[in-house]
Subunit: 483 residues, 4 copies
């Protein structure tokens, strides 16, 4: 432990690899903002020096299907247990290796819903494009992640994995992975200290120098991970699915599960008309809501107009709306002044990038009463009896109160797998220790692997047509900037 502390200190000084992506910068900023919140949680050890670097994502969790974890489990910390899998391997730290069979069944079900990764395994058969790759990962540890890890392994990679979130690990899946020979360090309900300990154990192992990583802000902070990386978040396929298509469904799902609100006839203001906002607006309009939009960017504003939404400033409609949804990626979009003017029963929630959009802190004042009416639902009550319904305490509604379809996770996982293959096999010099956008062609490849799910039949260019368009018949078909 002290070791880790020291290392971390050192690393901070000499961190040389450039985390240049704007996305990454913002994530770091939002971590700072969440420091306070995290500190409030009971912590066995209370190492404040670390808490600042726990990201929001490490405390949010998907409201996933029921876990098979036995609630009568013994309370011994996994760190204090010595477990081995059936082959005698003990290089992992999980809740209970005996749950491996349950986990295997979960993984098998997930495999059915992630045909693209299964197709990758099949197509690569014989070949091992990742032979020699040593991958460390830090993600939610779920059945879907397991399908990814086993795919990487099938393609030749060695994998070590830690959880990116202290609540989200499916213990039985972790057990199945450990049983299958993966070095997994994760369990549901880790403490802060556990969290960093797991990452440390995952990354820093004698004689095993990782050369690839997945989703690894934490990892790069924790150590020597100066390897090139793909920014899979900004790939077209992932972005459209995570933002537009996924949010189109999860806004409805999240609101229903928390509030049972009827959408028809409701007046809603959506702050921000990027992909997320577009998805929310389209869904609510289709369900019979009257939707207003706020925007700062005139191009998105004009799009909102053409799509049939009145473009307003928040203060123009705040008194009359039934639901307020933030999707800006910005901070303090809904401040106390607006909250004060909302009508009784108004629902406020956040679909945007971080938990800064609603100024929740401003509601923690003595004259307001908070009442938890359901999981993830608070009534904030004004002295005159007015209630504002705050969802997920301003954190991401779609992460907190709805589920992410396996199909979306499949796209993300496939993109990650292909990104690793590209990085690992690229000619020397193509990628430096930096963050890159996925090449268009691989983006297209990910998409093509998911078409069979829809029984969708792609047309092929004839030679003559390809020549006319000046394109290769196998793509890429669009310029890089195309979305």
């Amino acid at each position: 432990m002290d070791d880790l502390k020291k290392k971390k200190k050192n690393k901070k000084k000499k961190t040389s690899c450039k985390e240049s992506g704007m996305l990454y910068q913002k994530l770091f900023k939002s971590e700072w903002n969440q420091k306070q919140e995290f500190n409030k949680r009971p912590s066995k050890i209370g190492r404040r020096s670390l808490s600042r670097s726990i990201s929001q994502s490490s405390t949010d969790s998907y409201s996933s299907a029921a876990s098979y974890t036995d609630s009568s489990d013994d309370e011994t910390s996994p760190r204090d247990k010595q477990q081995k899998n059936s082959k005698g391997n003990g290089d992992f730290c999980i809740k209970n290796i005996k749950q491996a069979d349950f986990g295997r069944r979960e993984i098998e079900i997930a495999e059915q819903e992630m045909p693209a990764l299964m197709a990758l395994r099949k197509r690569a058969q014989g070949e091992k494009p990742l032979a020699g790759a040593k991958v460390v990962g830090c993600t939610h540890i779920t059945a879907q992640t397991a399908v990814l890890m086993e795919t990487l392994s099938a393609l030749g990679a060695q994998c070590r994995w830690a959880a990116c979130n202290i609540y989200s690990t499916q213990n039985e899946v972790a057990a199945a992975l450990a049983e299958g020979g993966f070095s997994v360090f994760a369990w549901k309900g880790e403490s802060e200290d556990d969290f960093w300990w797991c990452i440390d154990r995952c990354v820093n192992v004698e004689g095993w120098q990782p050369n690839m990583r997945i989703n690894c802000i934490m990892l790069s902070k924790a150590g020597k991970l100066c390897v090139p990386a793909m920014n899979v978040n900004d790939s077209v396929t992932k972005q459209k699915f995570d933002n537009l298509y996924c949010c189109r469904e999860s806004i409805l799902d999240g609101l229903k599960r928390t509030t049972d609100v009827m959408f028809g006839g409701k007046q809603v203001v959506v702050c921000g008309y990027g992909e997320v906002g577009k998805g929310c607006c389209a869904a609510l309009k289709a369900m019979g809501s009257i939707v207003y939009v706020t925007e700062i960017d005139p191009i998105c504003a004009l799009q909102a107009c053409m799509d049939g939404f009145r473009l307003v400033k928040l203060n123009e409609v705040i008194r009359q709306v039934d639901i307020v949804i933030t999707c800006t990626g910005n901070k303090n979009v809904v401040v106390r002044e607006y909250l004060d003017r909302m009508k009784n029963g108004c629902i406020v929630c956040n679909m945007g990038h971080s938990n800064t959009e609603i100024d929740v802190a401003s509601l923690r004042t003595p004259e307001l009463t908070w009442e938890r009416v359901r999981s993830q639902v608070d009534h904030v009550i004004w002295p005159d009896g007015k209630r504002v319904v705050l969802l997920a305490e301003g954190r991401l509604l779609n992460l907190s109160c709805s589920t992410v379809p396996t199909f979306v996770l499949s796209i993300t996982a496939t993109t990650q797998a292909l990104a690793l293959i590209e990085l690992y096999n690229a000619p020397e010099g193509r990628y430096k220790q930096d963050v890159y956008l996925l090449p268009k062609k691989m983006d297209e490849y990910v998409a093509s692997l998911h078409l069979p799910t829809f029984d969708a039949h792609l047309t092929e260019l004839t030679d003559e047509q390809a020549k006319y368009l000046g394109l290769n018949k196998n793509g890429p078909f669009k310029p890089n900037y195309y979305r």
Copy 2:
């Protein structure tokens, strides 16, 4: 008890009041079909002679918000307890009178969401249009029902109430009602025998002859309830809300809560294009599903075509669809033959009128394995490993797996209240011992009471315009057959 049995026997012979509505006939039929299912449930007493008349609705329940019922409650049957409210009145039978305060709070919250009933109370102030009315009711006993009962009481009526469902009673609400002086006979988890005992106690009381009733098939079977009744189910307002608008939302909600399915790109077949089917189709189309429709009625079929849905026979698409939804009110729409041909992972559910649409019984054969994967979700597994995902065992998805918005309940309750006022105050001879459609004008009145919720501003006819159209300025504005 024996008393009740005897009475029931007698009643059956001399039942003279005509339950003419087609709806009622169908309900009775579906009860018969459900006999078998009911018989499978453990029954303390096993009075088969009664079981046949328990309707489906008495075992389904809204998946409502958490009940405040103390789970550590003593296990004494309410029938064996002697309770009195704070005024010394003991003419009720509920779980625990001490929960009254909790229940009162629930009722107060519900009042905020049922502005129309509150408006009725206000407008009638001073007047008692139901003075002398003796109303027996048999419905779900929830906070929303309580608002209705207290409204009837405020308008002058005396009320006695029993539950229409053995699971759905909110015990604390029942307590608040009993504390408020209502004679309520209901608790969560009644046995069959309890169910009929409650109805008997509700209806048959010395020196109190009911002259009005609400939702009372059970009641009319149980006794001398030959009073006129309104068929509120077929009022335009209720029908559009319960069917079209409510189902448009609950199909999405029910599918998401049970399966987390992504709607985009899914192929769905909706059986039946009545109001329910229209709502389901519109919602799924808006979410990016590809929707096919089956119909028997050429007019509805043509509407489906014009609305952009391919009209098919079920066997033409059964192999390719991802979701099958029944909305026909018919029986055996999805039979074993179709279930055999569905693809792996196909979801099957019922939004229609009864639980007969999917031939679930045909799936109870030895070669098929049932696996309960979540509450309300079964995987039925074929010998070759194919899984069909059956929701709510073929019962109503919207009742079982989603919630009914309070707004819809408000419309129903207001319609019921107005129906009682109309019946009770109509000049003698207008209504006989039969079931009537709500007069158009009252239907319009219910609608008008709900407009303020949407800040909706109705236009009034000028005298000149009313004369031109040959209408009264206050309505009714449409012929009775208008929907």
Copy 3:
């Protein structure tokens, strides 16, 4: 001529047959309102006594495809010409019998688009369900009407026909009909006097007493037409098609052809949320307009709310909207006061039942300048330069500025044909000299005849299902009031 005058006078006194339909009453009212307009048109003879009974429909016309009429045609009035068809028959009065071949080709094309009538002919083969029927008709005389007439003839009827509109006759079609032996009295560009002369010649013929009629307000005024009639306008199929589905398309078409307006982002107020209003609102919302609705009926108002439209009074939005559309069937919905407050460039049009909805007369004042900028488009210019764009002088936009799809005409014509068959073959006593609604079953039959157009496959009830539902397997499937 004098003869006709006299007859008409007499007829008016002794008219005994009850034209009870509300629709008919309104039509008569609107005729009166249009008197003034008609009188303004140049009239060779100026018989004012007649002008009052010319309906609006006789001056509006479909903006149909190019007519093949030879513009160099001689100017002799058809009434002064003596023509015979190739079989020597001269009992008709049309423009030019030599155009028959052109007309036949038009009819053949129309036959392809009216498969239901063709199917009727086929199914009846051998049988003559209208044998002995003597039908007089007064409709637009177009290729589609010709297909109807020839169908009636194929089913055994004798037909005589006059035009219901002085502009809409396709001369070459009339010629083809005359050549085929039909007694047709119609040409494009009739005078008022011609109009009544044609009707007279059509109806009053020695030794031929009509016993059936189609669309015959004019006819019934002109004579002894006391025969039962079907109100085909209120049949479900026709109503949904003429109103909801047809208007959904024609509102866009009519606005584009006249003004080239871009719909995206436009603010629109639609007055009236009946079927026509619903169609207009749905189309404009889909095209990205922001739509407000006004209503007098609370049920329709609530539907507008649930469909996602703000319900307002006209004066609340009149200053801000870009387009005003009336669909009420009412009068003086848009009065001068509102017109004064519209913004520059606001477009005003009428999709409703008559030309009374916009108070166009109030715009005929000296301070306003009218400028005809295109056919059917007037700029009304206020002293400060503000322009209001008035379409079709307040007459029906869909009739004046867009076309009615043949498919809709096919439904209407088929309904008419079946109505005649029903009336003619009904057991004595079923129908008296009154106006009746089409029986549900025939309505369903019309719909079923149009399903093949969409390659739509209807499902048939099994015996068991029909029994369960208490229905005949061949319908009717819904109660009469169902829409």
Copy 4:
């Protein structure tokens, strides 16, 4: 003339300025393809050497509102007339200078619909950001173009203009421009020879060396126009409007005006799911059509799936569809083989980039009969009587058979004006003799100038928010690749 020929020859050799944009390349290619078509037109002079470089756009024309051109105009060629405006200036060549007043009125009306350009004039008042600029333009010469030219002039530029199309010039607008002092060389109905003569006169004038140009492929061919240029076509704003939003409306408009087809229930296949395809699909789906999509790009294909369209190969649905629409930018998408298999009455049209998508030439075979049934509508008739309805002979439907809303033209014109300002005022070295994308910020500025039209209110970032996001409060708000 000989002079021009020679110059052109020379220019071709020494053309050094790089027309690098892919768009430009494709345009050139499609010109070659259209050579044949052009050659078929009667040509007084028949200079084949030139014909190859006449672009499609020079023969297509907007089906604009009625032109006020006097049809009885004398037939003298404008080239043979000597005209002067009221100030004695004769440096122009147009039909008739006397029509200037009519044209001025048209321009004034257009000004009302192009508020962004008017705002530009206002904001620049006093300043002359284009002082010294010498702009040559080659575009459609319409009232909207006139507003652009007069804006450029108000900002300090000198302009000379020729038509890019031999049919589209509004003669009275050209007259108004000439009267206003612009050197315009254009009239409606130019011959090929006229076309090049006008361009020559426009560009090659003693002592006036153009340093800026608009839409000038022709110009650059004709001469020394090696100046930097903006590719305004690929600006986000223009692209979304020209493609997505405009096509969403014009597909409906174009189909209705030509065929009066009813959209409800029609089966449609849309080839290509780029912006144009997305617009077409959305509109038709909203109108109740059943839409299939073909795609070559898996990313767009996956989007089509998620938007609810079945992705097919053309041959899978070609037999069953009612309408085929091409939007690919590709060639030979609909070939004879497919045309042979279409069903009777199938409508075929092109919304894509050039006229190559439908292989129209393959239909010019002896066994097929062509019948022109309306302007822009041909029936191609197979020996068995089957008719395929071909629109605009495969040229662009939206250009040929519908109108482009002024609002879209306003966006284009404003973008062009700002592009000139940017180019002209950029620090030396920023732009070379090449084609550039409009800077994001200017794109945003164009959008912001159009927001007032929709009464849209943009939100401004607070200082704190701008800092948080790392953005300038005035934009640009998005990365360059954002669409």
